[in-house]
Symmetry: C2
Subunit: 414 residues, 2 copies
């Protein structure tokens, strides 16, 4: 009896039960599925192009792309070949491989504001190093960040302050995204101690509708940083290589002094980068920041090939095309069911929210049903498209979301 | 004329010159060769077992092992096969692969004090998360660290404070390694606000002689943490898997509450870990710590196979055997040249220093000559042996160090 019940248990459930014994709370961080509806798998075993498979063999159209890193599709042949060729020679050595120079040169060539690069592992390493370079370059302390923005999970920025001290945020001052007067008020408060303003390419806080940047706001930040002789830091960790081939504010013509990169830059291989202009070269050079794997060659070889392929395959155009199809499809499905939704932000980083859904009940039901029908989405975090998403993939995903909207209509009415 | 001069320039020099344009100062962090003698290469292209090759094709017996990560030798076949098998399926996904559970179970089985594990990328992530878990678990702020100890390169711990603020270290209080009265004095200073004591398995500060832990000191820290209801954090990032198969203080029978791991745990693949006991499980579970690549499967598969191979091949015994041969050889070479040296710390993590060498002039000449003769060593940082070092490798390395001692004797006299 017990045995047959256990046999009926899914592989995912069995793994979760083992994980609960040896991992705090069963899982940690942003990939903890405990707070997601029960239909969401915790464990994954395979990825190929636009598709992923969970530990029970269920296949999904992947609309999260590993929360961003997969920008060309899982296991892109060009990237895998470049990584394998480097791995056959060396990865982690007593010094970097020559490809660190190639990668730095490539980034300086492709990203407008960049005169130099340095590499780390986490997006948090990159944002933290940007702040340190700004402080070392200006000799000042205060850093402006937007209320509610995510810039990583170190003590100075993690959104859940457990385990941190008030001093970790002693020099942070908050402004409101797209609200220049709030920036000016913050500037007044910090006096002559402004080291940097940190900003995301657009407002992409989890659990909120997204908001594109107001070009005048971006220009205003640039002007204020120039006036104050402070650093404008663009946190391009989440958006980098999805909005543009280059910095995410290049289309609007606003150059940061420093920018933080990670996620998509090596199509899933672990790397992050700080790019900076000559004004902050000395500041960066005065830091001691390092890590045992920051010089490892395989992720750098993967990054070089990802960036080259990204342009060769016109990845941004492809993601926009797929994103428009998805947005149109979702809009017309919602309309046909009479379900009120909002879609915000760039089409290649979709955010779908429901009218009258403060507690995310509709979003949870929609995403759970969509997942069960074969498209992996998220209830309150933006989704990510990759250049591997074809029209066929979007059609397949829309079959799943159709079931999601039907479920919302059935439970909550139209 | 110019052309022939350029042709005569080494590949390493050409790469350094390109790097200088696009990387602040030409390189950053602990693998910056700028402060090493000119004979040290900056760039490496290949590693195999105990040998490495620089960008100009020079071969070395590798006595630094990538500053620690390579514990079984470069490109160990079992580790490479396990990593390749995982990579063929998936690496960075929307959730971890099943091997995260296997790895956590294996660590809990092999490391005495551990009831749970969580994984990150950098050693600094692990030490920082230990401190956060201690603070979240105790509700207190103060952390004792040994004067001069290295626990990472985040603002709270980087040894060069440029780019940090005084508040980043507001709650650190210092003690002297192996000096229990200094710990008791620090405890008096923090009152009832002690969250944790952080300690390395032995004193391995760069630029100093190493010092093994006094067992009574270790027991004293354990007793104080018990009395104060604080966490004892063992920073096993550098020593882990070199001193023992399991925690580095298991041979002396002192269990920490939390331990930080990285470097050697996956034989060069990028991963770090926090291990903890049940007392700090809730503290760890209350944190939000995460990273885009913290759930990636390839480094976890590599870690599992590294740890299994480590025991199967009796890696600690092998490293000790090679380390004893090296230490004996260096001692007798130094004696025969009449050069006064000190060798300190465990034999598998050698530290060689010279009498009357406060400015490291002898160490620089010795290491430069040794490098030129085919063994890669460091002038002021401890070296690392791996299980791939055979008697023949040590013989070969000693040929190079013989030249190093001869040079020291010639320049500085005996």
């Amino acid at each position: 009896m017990t045995e047959s019940i256990e046999q009926a248990q899914s592989t995912d459930a069995a793994l979760r039960s083992r994980a609960k014994a040896v991992i705090p709370g069963g899982m940690y961080g942003h990939q903890n599925a405990r707070h997601l509806p029960a239909e969401f798998p915790q464990f994954f075993v395979r990825g190929e192009g636009s598709r992923i498979w969970d530990a029970d063999g269920n296949e999904y159209v992947d609309l999260m792309c590993s929360y961003g890193p997969i920008v060309l599709g899982h296991r892109h042949p060009r990237v895998e070949a470049a990584a394998a060729a480097q791995l056959a020679r060396a990865d982690c050595q007593n010094g970097p491989a020559p490809c660190i120079v190639e990668l730095a040169e490539l980034l300086v060539e492709r990203v407008e504001h960049a005169d130099w690069a340095l590499f780390a592992k986490n997006g948090t390493d990159a944002t933290t190093t940007c702040v340190m370079a700004a402080r070392a370059g200006t000799g000042r302390n205060k850093v402006l960040v937007a209320e509610g923005a995510y810039h990583g999970a170190a003590p100075w920025c993690t959104p859940r302050p457990n385990g941190t001290t008030p001093e970790d945020r002693a020099h942070l001052v908050h402004y409101t995204y797209n609200d220049l007067p709030s920036v000016e008020a913050a500037i007044d408060a910090v006096g002559d101690d402004l080291a940097a303003i940190v900003v995301s390419p657009f407002k992409h806080d989890a659990g909120s509708d997204q908001e594109l940047v107001d070009v005048e706001f971006a220009r205003g930040l640039r002007r204020i940083c120039d006036e104050q002789d402070a650093a404008l830091i663009l946190d391009d960790v989440r958006c980098g290589w999805r909005l543009a081939h280059g910095g995410s504010w290049e289309p609007i013509g606003v150059d940061p002094d420093l920018s933080a990169w990670s996620k998509a830059m090596a199509n899933g291989y672990p790397i992050s980068a700080v790019l900076g202009n000559d004004r902050f070269r000395t500041g960066a050079n005065r830091l001691f920041v390092t890590g045992s794997f920051w010089f490892a060659a395989v992720a750098m070889a993967a990054a070089i090939e990802t960036i080259r392929t990204h342009r060769d395959e016109e990845a941004v155009d492809r993601m926009e095309r797929a994103g428009r199809l998805l947005r149109q499809g979702l809009d017309s499905q919602a309309a046909s069911h009479g379900v009120g939704i909002r879609q915000t932000g760039p089409v290649q980083m979709p955010e779908l929210s429901f009218e009258d859904d403060a507690g995310f009940d509709k979003a949870r039901l929609f995403s759970a049903t969509t997942v069960r029908h074969g498209a992996y989405v998220h209830p309150w975090h933006n989704w990510f498209l990759s250049a591997a998403h074809s029209e066929r993939d979007i059609d397949r995903a829309l079959q799943a979301t159709e079931a999601g909207f039907a479920a919302v209509r059935k439970t909550f009415g139209d």
